[in-house]
Each structure stands twice: as structure tokens, then as C-alpha cells.
Symmetry: C2
Subunit: 383 residues, 2 copies
Amino acid sequence: MSLSLYEREKPIPPEEYVRVDYGSLKKWVKNVYIKLGLLKEHAEIVADVLTMADLMGISSHGVQRVSRYVTGIKLGTVNLRPKVRIVKDFGATALIDGDNGLGHPTALYAMNVAVSKAGKYGVSLVLVKNSHHFGIAGYYSLKAAEEGFIGMTVTNSEPLVAYTHTAERYLGTNPIAVAIPRRNPPPILFDAATSVVPVGKIELYSKIGKEVPPGWAIDLEGNILSGNAKGILKAIRERKAALLPLGGLGEELGGHKGSGLSMIIDVFSGVLSGAAWGWHVRHTISDRPANVGHAIAAVNIDAFMDKDVFFDRLEKFISEIKSLRKHPKAERIWIPGEKAWLTMQTRLKIGIPIHKAVLNELKRISNEVGIPFTVNIVREKAY
Amino acid sequence: MSLSLYEREKPIPPEEYVRVDYGSLKKWVKNVYIKLGLLKEHAEIVADVLTMADLMGISSHGVQRVSRYVTGIKLGTVNLRPKVRIVKDFGATALIDGDNGLGHPTALYAMNVAVSKAGKYGVSLVLVKNSHHFGIAGYYSLKAAEEGFIGMTVTNSEPLVAYTHTAERYLGTNPIAVAIPRRNPPPILFDAATSVVPVGKIELYSKIGKEVPPGWAIDLEGNILSGNAKGILKAIRERKAALLPLGGLGEELGGHKGSGLSMIIDVFSGVLSGAAWGWHVRHTISDRPANVGHAIAAVNIDAFMDKDVFFDRLEKFISEIKSLRKHPKAERIWIPGEKAWLTMQTRLKIGIPIHKAVLNELKRISNEVGIPFTVNIVREKAY
């Protein structure tokens, strides 16, 4: 398999996509939010997180979400000038109040606090309340890894997943993201929803006309859904279906494990932080603040081991995994984060694929907000 | 469903089991290890962990493992008088050298250090190297919960699981155990292998003649195994088969998530601690020390929220989960740890079921070691 132009999420069919230049896309997103009244430095962060998701091939969390946050700001659900602050400090821990601003600058601030505390105490835990959706969890963990720390980020999110032995949406897809620095990039980046798939995957299948395999979602009677992605997505949106936790339905293949992990994440992100939990967590587009909660931690490698020794050991571990007996149906043995990294390299070179429907939406937003549409299209088809 | 005498792992068929009294079983286990030369206080801890597993209905980790540790001690793989000590301290973190003693006293010591540090700094992380298998991970997390802290325990273990896109044993079943205190018992106890099932489940199926469903294990050609549990267990033992990670084969249902979680656990437990990782982790019965590694953390609830407020919020969260729309095929909606707790209450009342083959083994050990067999049989059949 050639990896020189690898993309983990391919633009299919290519004629429905254009490719745009990363720099101009990011700058335009930033300008949108500045125009809407966000602080320049907050707009910069939101733009960085959203376009990083597109670079990494997680388009469900990319610029197709610009409109969600724009709507949230217009509805007044999002506080444009939040006073993000530490409301409790216990040495290696802090509790942060996000003051209902967008989740991205708040979570980045929380990770900076976490890294600084881990530098001093070896480990840290920072909880955040009164926040909003913050995009890809991995972004914040990677920031710690860039500083040479192990970063961990979890969050709760709008209710979409059925707790084991139930048949309705209650828990969020509550992801876990852990980033571990290596001597040379890419860092390890494990970033996974605790559901079988994030809802964005079904959105994607619905868009490209792919069938949903059995095991991702159930209806209110507890039947496993499969087939038409559009229909399943609609049912989930109308609360007539729910995603399954990692491990699937019931306990036979470990559904109680995915479900339990998700619940534990909600205890940290929601119950212990003072944020909302379960079905109380709101969407950005809602009649009141989402009150999303996050839990963010950092670990200082130097507190346990000389960093060079750690890097040597980690490379040995990774090279052993790479040399394992490959499954006959597998093309390659992947380390968490490699796919995202290679996709990023590719897209920095040849541009980010944007679906034409999304491109039109971005143009509409540009008009509405009243700024020029300055995104450079580098290819008219996304080959 | 009546819960007055609930057992999550039923003794089937009952005529193959006896029930024994918890107190006498624990005392006898302790005497075995004292006779073999363990410190009295270490023998007490090992006995407590092993019999707690039986009380909770995790017999794979119960007294059927007495013989494993006895053999390990006789082979000299286990250090009888380890100097367990902190070799690095960074404030909220510590690195502990277990000096190749049994894992149980070492891990309990590590959790005590973790709780003490979390009391001071809000959160803590203690890594352990040169340890051995420590029984059920949940035991140590529960100790933190008894003190009013959230406890987290992960460990690596002998290679049994195939990393995603590979087809051989490499990673351990690397469990995660999180215990969260509630106002009244039982605490939440999430304790799960990051494989679909622990190997103990296949051992159990092999013993009671139950068929393994597809999705738990694969052979060296990557085929999913199912059916005869004895054959599958034999193949795993002979390195001709491997357990699948949580999420199953490949990526469609999230196998890369279970696999990635397990890998991250090994980075903490093995790579960063200085212990072994992957297939370097040895079994207790081996020609050299197992060098198992653990990562143990505690979180101080008071660092974030008044404990009474936390308890109120947690009870609301739990009661919401309990009131969700039940799956038609489910008998009940379970909170993590409830099954173990109810099983414990039942077995404290009517005794712990011990398979007659295991009972004979315990008697043989008693003879070998040269102590009287003082376990009280309270029922000759395990009805």
C-alpha cells in the first residue's frame, strides 16, 4: 500500500468534492468568528481545532460544524466573551468554569493548566464545567504531547448512546483521547468514542450512500438496525434510535464495558465537575447553554523515567507491534494516530477535500456574516 | 428477578460444587502462604484478594489460583521477602519497585500511597515495576473508594490478546478498574479486561461445557473461533490462538479501540514504569520474575466538590440510568459493580461455591505444604 498520498477518509465520489488550501480555510474560519464577536485569540483556537479535524480526516468534526457554532452564537446559547477561570485549585488539580463560551478555547486553557501542574507535581487533573462542544478531543491531548507530556482528554456530549440493557439515547459518545509523545512525530494518538462509532460516521455513510452494518445502532424496541444510513440517522435525530456502546448489544461481546467506560467518563466530566450529565447535556443549538463538562489530565514523563530511556522503550514497543504476525485480511498494522498523521501530511500537500454541499454552506455563512469568502480552491475535483 | 440470593456466576451443575465458609477459606489461604514463608501481613493481603474474587463471583481470579502462586514461590520466581519501596517521588506521583514479590501486597501499598498523595494534591499517579500478577484489579480501586476517594487501577499481564490487524498473542488482557464511592454501598465498580472477555471466561466455559460464541478468539490464520471451549482454551495456551480485543476483529465494530486502550495501558504499566510490556510480561509460573507493571491512581473528590453534593448528584445520575427504557430482552439495568456486590452478600450468607476439582487441589496443596485443611464445607452441594 502506497502511503505517499494516504487519506483515511477518502472523498467519494471525488466529483462531489473540491480541495481547498488549509491556510486560507483556517484564516476564513477565524474571520467568521471574529466578525461574530469572538475574541481574536479565541477565534484563532476554534479555527485551528476545526481545520485540524479536516486535516486529520475527521470531517464530521471539521468545518462542516462552523454553522453549528454560528447558530449557537446567534441564539445566544454561546457566551461570546466568557470569563474562563479557575474556581477551585488543590495543587495538582483545578476546577475551571468555562462561563458558557465555546469549548475549544476553554479546553485548551484547561490543558495548559494541566501541563503546568504536571510539570510541578508529576500528574494533574483539571475538570471543566459550563463548557460547550469542543471539537476533536485529540487536539488537546496532542498539545500536551507537543510539550513532551502525556495528555488525556475526556468529555461528555449530547445524549446519543443507549446504556447497556436499555433502548434509548442517554449517554454521550463520550470520547477518550490519549496522546503520548515519541522521539520523532507522529506521537501516539488514541482518540475514540466509547460508542461503537461516533454519530459522524453514520452522517458520513448517509452522505456517501454507504450501508450501515449491523451492530452500530438500535431502535426503541431494542432491534439492531442496519442498511440505509439516512433512515438510521433520521431515527437517531428524532430519538427513535440510539447508538450502541463499544462492545455492542448486551454483554456477550462486552457492551457493558463500553457502556461502563462511558458512564465513568460522565462521572468525571459531568457529575464531579458540576456540569450536566446524561441527557441533561445540551447541543450547541439549543434554548440554553449546553453545560458540557470535560476532564483533562497530563502526566510528566520525567517524574518516572529519563525521557530518552522512555523514548527508546516506546520505539521498541512500537516496532514489536509492527512486526507481529499480520492478519491475512489486513493491509497494514496501524499505531493509534498514524492514519490521522498521514492524512494530515497528504492534505497539507494537496489540499483538504470539502463536499460541495458543505462548500455552499460555508459561502452562505460568509454572506450572512458579511465577510468575503477567501477560501482558496486548489482543485475543482478531489482526485 | 429475585435478588435476595443472586449470584452472577452460578455453580453449574450444583452437584459438582460444595459451598465453603468465607472466613475459614480466607484463613486457610493465609496459613498456606505463611507456611511457605510469606510475611504474615502479606499472606493476609493475598488471602483477602483471592477470596474476595470468589465472593464477588470472579472465580477465575479466586482460590483456584492459590496453586499458581504456590508454584511460583517454589520455583523461586516470586521473592518471598520483597523490599517494596518508592524509588522515585515527584510530589503527586511515585514509582514503586515491587522487588519481584507477589503483586497483591505491592499493589495495595501503591494504592495507599496514591490515596495519601491524592489527599494532599487532589490527584495522584503511582506506577509499579517488578511486580507479579495481583488478582482482581478492582480490589485496589475499592480500597480507595472505602477511603472516600475515586480509585483507578490498570495493569499489564501475560500476552493473550491479538492487537488489531494481527493474529497472535501479544498484549495482555490489561484490565481497567475504576471504583467510585457512593453515599451508601455498593460503590460503583467498573472492572473490565480490555479484551472481549478475560481468558478466565473461556476457562469457565470449558469447565461447565458451554460453547464459546463467535467473536471471542481467533487462530493464527485470523479465523474467528467458536464452539468447543476446551479446544479453544488449549489453542490459546499453546499460542495457536489469541483473544480478541474489546470491539472484536478489525475496525468495523471498534476492535482498534479495545486494542488501542490495551496498548495505552501497557505504555503506562510497562513502558513508563520500567516493567516488562507485551510478550515480555511473564506468567507467575515461569523461569524468571514476571516483571508485571501496574498504574494506580486516586482522585480526591473534595478537590472538586463538597462530598455531599457529589453524592447527591451521583445518586441522581444512577437513578436516571435505572429508570431508562429497558431493553425488552434485559431482566434488569445494572450499574457497574452491582452484580459483584449482590453475589458477595449472597455468598457471605450461604457460602462460596468451590468446584470439587478445585477443592481437591486445595487439599493437595494443604498436604504438600504441610498444614491442616481447615476450610469449612457448609453445603455438600452448591444449591
